[in-house]
C-alpha cells in the first residue's frame, strides 16, 4: 500500500495535495482497495461550496456506496470529468489521474489539522 509523503490525509480516507490556495482531493490507495470495482461517481458542479467534514458527493463500488468527504472548506474550481466515463481510473491511479476535485481554500489553516502520510499510515494499520 502506497502513502505518498507529499500528501495530507483524512480519517475518512481522502488525500489532499496543497499548491498555494488550491487543494486537489482524491481517495487514498487504501480506500480504493477497500472499495474495489468503482463504477459510479456523483460529483458536484464547479462553483459548489464545500465544507470540511461534509459530504460533497458519492462514490459507488459494486459492493458498497460511500460518501466523498471534503478535506478542506472552499469553492470547487475544477471537477475531474474524465471519471464520469472511466471511474475505474481511481482504482488504477488513485493519487494521479484519479484525482476528484480541486478546491480554492477559504481557510488554508485547515490544512494544518490534516494527517501526515506517517500519521495516516499508522491510523490505517490501527483501524484494520
Amino acid at each position: 500500500m502506497n502513502f505518498p509523503k507529499e500528501l495530507k490525509y483524512t480519517k475518512s480516507h481522502e488525500w489532499v495535495k496543497i499548491e498555494g490556495d488550491i487543494a486537489t482531493e482524491g481517495i487514498s490507495d487504501f480506500a480504493q482497495e477497500e472499495l474495489s470495482d468503482i463504477v459510479y461517481l456523483e460529483l458536484p458542479e464547479v462553483g459548489t461550496k464545500v465544507e470540511t467534514g461534509k459530504a460533497f458527493g458519492t462514490i459507488e463500488a459494486v459492493k458498497a456506496v460511500s460518501d466523498l468527504v471534503a478535506a478542506v472548506s472552499g469553492e470547487i474550481v475544477e471537477v475531474n470529468e474524465e471519471l464520469v466515463n472511466a471511474p475505474e481510473t481511481i482504482n488504477n491511479d488513485p493519487y494521479g489521474a484519479g484525482w476528484i476535485i480541486k478546491v480554492k481554500m477559504s481557510n488554508p489553516d485547515e490544512a494544518n489539522s490534516l494527517l501526515s502520510a506517517e500519521e495516516y499510515e499508522k491510523f490505517v494499520q490501527e483501524e484494520h
Binding site: E60, K63, V65
Partner: protein
C-alpha cells in the same frame, strides 16, 4: 468466536478480503468482484463453500419425515437426484432454503451456513417418525466448481462419467482419489459441480482441482462474486430475500411448493395466501437510470409513497446495469411495472423484468 473453513489459510495467502459471514471468516473478494464474476461466466472458478451445513437423515421414515418438514415433494426424487426446497414454520415463515439429496443409504440436507444450528434444532424438534438426524457439517468440506469448462476440469479427476450426470443429479464416488458426493448443482447459473468430502482431504482436493483447471485459467472466487452471480440468476439469498417473516408465496417460491401434499409445515397459511392473495411479493427489477440498488433502500411509487423495500441489489457485471429484487405490493409486481428506488435521496427509475436477469447461463 468466528469459525474457519479448512481453506481459511488459503484465502488469506491468496489475498482475500476476509469478513465474518454467517459466523465464518470468509473472503469477499480476492482481486475484483467483476473479474471474478466474469471468470465463472467465461471458463471456470472455484468457491470454497465448506461453511454450508450438511444434515443427514436416515431411518425407515426418512422420506415421510422430510416430506413433512419441506415444501417440495421429496417422493419425486429418484436415487441420486437432488431437489431445491425450503423448510417453513407452521405460520409459513421460511426457516431456510435447502437442497435435498436422495443418496444410497441416506438423505442429505444441505443448508445455509448461518442457519445450520437453527435448522438442526428445528429438524430435531419436528421428529415424530422413526428417523435419525445427524449434523455432519463440521466434518465436511465442500467446493463448488462452476463455469462452462467445469465438466472438462472435473472429468480429469474421476472415472465417473460426468456427462451422464444431469442438472440436479448426483453420484457418490471417487474424485481425485477421495470419497465424495458430487452433484451437477450450483448457485451461479453456469454449468458446474458441487463436491462434498471429508475435510481431512481439503488441501488434496483443492490442489487437484486447480492443477486440472490450469489450462482453463481456473481461479478462486469469493463471496462478492458469488452474490452477483446468484443475483443475476434471481436465486434467493436467505436472510436478505427470504427469512422467517416471509412465506414461499410472498418469496416467489410457489414453483417449489407442492400444495397437493396432504401435510407439511406451513401448508394451511400458504394455501390461504394462494387463495386470498399476498400483500407483498418478491419482485425482480432492473434500473432504467444509472445507479445501484442496495439492500434496505425504499421502493416508491411515482407519488413518492413507499411501496416496499429492496432486499438484494447490485451492479450486474454481465447485464451492465443495476439489478435487484424487493418486496412490493402485488399491483407493482407485474411485468413491466415501473417504480422508483430511493438511493439515499436520489430516485432511480426501475422496471419489473422477467428473471433471470442474465439469460445466457450454461447450466444444463
Amino acid at each position: 468466536m468466528a469459525k474457519k473453513t479448512p481453506y481459511y489459510d488459503k484465502h488469506v495467502a491468496l489475498g482475500g478480503h476476509i469478513v465474518n459471514f454467517g459466523g465464518f471468516l470468509m473472503p469477499t473478494q480476492y482481486k475484483s468482484v467483476i473479474e471474478e464474476t466474469k471468470r465463472v461466466r467465461a471458463t471456470v472458478g472455484v468457491f470454497d463453500v465448506s461453511h454450508m451445513g450438511e444434515i443427514e437423515v436416515t431411518g425407515p421414515d426418512a422420506l415421510r419425515f422430510i416430506s413433512r418438514i419441506t415444501v417440495n415433494d421429496p417422493s419425486k426424487l429418484s436415487l441420486n437426484q437432488v431437489q431445491y426446497s425450503a423448510m417453513c414454520y407452521n405460520d409459513g415463515g421460511i426457516v431456510d432454503d435447502l437442497l435435498v439429496y436422495r443418496l444410497k443409504k441416506r438423505y442429505l440436507l444441505v443448508v445455509n451456513a448461518s442457519n445450520t444450528d437453527k435448522d438442526f434444532k428445528w429438524i430435531k424438534y419436528n421428529v415424530k417418525e422413526n428417523v435419525t438426524v445427524k449434523n455432519i457439517s463440521n466434518d465436511i468440506a465442500q467446493l463448488a466448481i462452476q463455469g462452462p469448462d467445469a465438466e472438462k476440469v472435473m472429468q480429469k479427476l474421476t472415472d465417473i462419467d460426468l456427462s451422464k450426470i444431469k442438472f440436479y443429479w448426483a453420484r457418490e464416488g471417487k474424485v481425485a482419489d477421495i470419497d465424495t458426493v458430487i452433484s451437477r448443482t450450483g448457485y451461479t447459473g453456469e454449468d458446474g459441480f458441487e463436491v462434498y468430502f471429508n475435510k481431512t482431504y481439503a488441501d488434496k482436493m483443492w490442489d487437484a482441482v486447480f492443477d486440472a483447471g490450469k489450462e482453463f485459467d481456473i481461479e478462486p472466487i469469493a463471496l462478492g462474486a458469488r452474490d452477483t452471480l446468484r443475483l443475476e440468476m434471481y436465486y434467493r439469498l436467505y436472510g436478505n430475500d427470504i427469512d422467517g417473516t416471509t412465506t414461499p408465496a410472498e418469496g416467489d417460491l410457489m414453483w417449489i411448493t407442492r400444495l397437493n401434499k396432504t401435510e407439511f409445515n406451513g401448508r394451511e397459511v400458504i394455501i390461504k395466501q394462494k387463495l386470498e392473495g399476498v400483500k407483498r411479493k418478491l419482485t425482480p427489477f432492473e434500473l432504467l437510470d444509472k445507479g445501484i440498488p442496495r439492500h434496505g433502500y425504499d421502493i416508491k411509487d411515482d407519488k413518492g409513497n413507499t411501496i416496499g423495500h429492496v432486499t438484494s441489489g447490485t451492479l450486474s457485471p454481465m447485464v451492465e446495469r443495476g439489478i435487484g429484487c424487493g418486496y412490493v405490493e402485488p399491483e407493482f409486481s407485474k411485468l413491466d411495472s415501473e417504480f422508483f428506488i430511493d438511493a439515499r435521496g436520489r430516485l432511480l427509475k426501475a422496471k419489473v423484468v422477467e428473471a433471470p436477469f442474465y439469460k445466457h447461463g450454461t447450466h444444463k
